[in-house]
Amino acid sequence: MAGSALKRLMAEYKQLTLNPPEGIIAGPVNEENFFEWEALIMGPEGTWFEGGIFPARLTFPTDYPLSPPKMKFTCEIFHPNIYPDGRVCISILHAPGDDPMGYETSAERWSPVQSVEKILLSVVSMLAEPNDESAANVDAAKTWREDRQKFQEIAQRTVRKSLGL
């Protein structure tokens, strides 16, 4: 099973290298282990996170793509759909039925035809449009809902921090 997972991950890596989506760089941490990836995501233009470069880790199960990977930001990021420890909480990282947050019925789910690229693009949209209905960081959701000014200040601080400023 790990053989087919490896084959698929290599194909996805090739695909992402040949046609990289805007604002995203991703690939295995080292070529010895294709089941551990690092991604760099640029904060989308015109959003609170514009200008930031946010590193994350993707960890793939041996039965990928039957099951989805896990994704975790390795930098500080204050966002309603990211746990305080960096784990990303969006519907595409979960198969239906496996539902810790009770995602809405129209939310896109993991299936074997999804891909790393689809996940990363969903993460970019999540950065642009937080969903405070299924909050992983209650504090961030509350600030997002009630005090946009403060949310913006915190977001911009993490942007500067992500650039090492």
Partner: protein, 258 residues
């Protein structure tokens, strides 16, 4: 109540705990049930229903009409797993339908790509699907076929591809199937949530789409709680001559041999 028993602790990783628990349950089922069992007699099936007079009568009804059965693993993929095994085993023993089926199978990938499925994510599944079909074409022994089809990696990829064929057919015939999709979802959303992911159980709509897409007719014998002594039959499509026979017990499909 013990202090903190129900307190939500945001620093804890409940996600991973939920997933780990899910995996444990899947593993327990996998250890107990083969993907596809050996041939079983209906008397063996009866041992599951010692105190159930209605189900025992229904099993007698099956016994009068079928020779034996095979069970499949109850992992949510049972309909697809049962269908694939039953149909390929039949092709192995009588290949008159083979050329027609192989042509549909080979062409199906391009049709999925034309429907918008990304080629590089469906390629591996189609490749495995065709490999299994080609083994059948080369007349492997029944034992070799059984070994191949019960290899978890190969079998799961075969199931994924059958799911994609169903998804493709539902999306192609969207105008018709939209009337059968529940929950105010689009056909595409339904496919993303109820068809394409592994372990999602199948319903009439999946069976209808699969029979139509592959041109293989299925008869399902329903063994339910109704108090008639016989199983209800349903043929997909209605009035067709079936070539695959399945037994349905609440939430589960097994294979029947006429």
């Amino acid at each position: 109540m013990a202090e903190g028993a129900l307190n939500y602790d945001p620093s804890k990783n409940y996600d991973d705990q939920t997933c780990a628990q899910q995996r444990d349950i899947e593993k327990a089922i996998a250890d107990e049930q083969p993907l596809v069992s050996d041939i079983l007699s209906f008397d063996e099936l009866k041992t599951e229903y010692q105190d159930d007079e209605i189900f025992k009568l229904k099993i007698d009804d099956l016994k009068g009409r079928y020779k034996h059965m095979r069970k499949t693993r109850g992992d949510g993929n049972c309909f697809f797993r049962a269908f694939g095994f039953a149909y390929l085993e039949q092709l192995l023993n009588n290949n008159t339908d083979f050329p027609r089926f192989k042509e549909i199978a080979s062409k199906s990938k391009d049709e999925l790509v034309a429907l918008g499925f990304p080629q590089f994510t469906i390629e591996d599944f189609h490749e495995t699907f065709m490999e299994v079909i080609e083994k059948v074409e080369k007349k492997c022994t029944n034992e070799e076929f059984y070994q191949l089809y019960t290899d978890q990696g190969i079998s799961d990829y075969f199931v994924v591809y059958l799911r994609l064929i169903v998804s493709g057919h539902l999306q192609k015939e969207e105008d018709f199937f939209i009337h059968f999709v529940e929950g105010g979802r689009t056909v595409k959303e339904f496919c993303n949530q109820e068809v394409e992911p592994m372990h999602k159980e199948s319903d009439h709509i999946h069976i209808t789409a699969l029979t139509a897409a592959l041109g293989v007719n299925i008869r399902v014998e329903y063994m339910d709680r109704g108090d008639t002594p016989k199983c209800n039959q349903h043929d997909f499509p209605d009035g067709s001559r079936p070539s695959v026979y399945l037994l349905y017990r609440p939430s589960h499909y097994d294979i029947l041999y006429p």
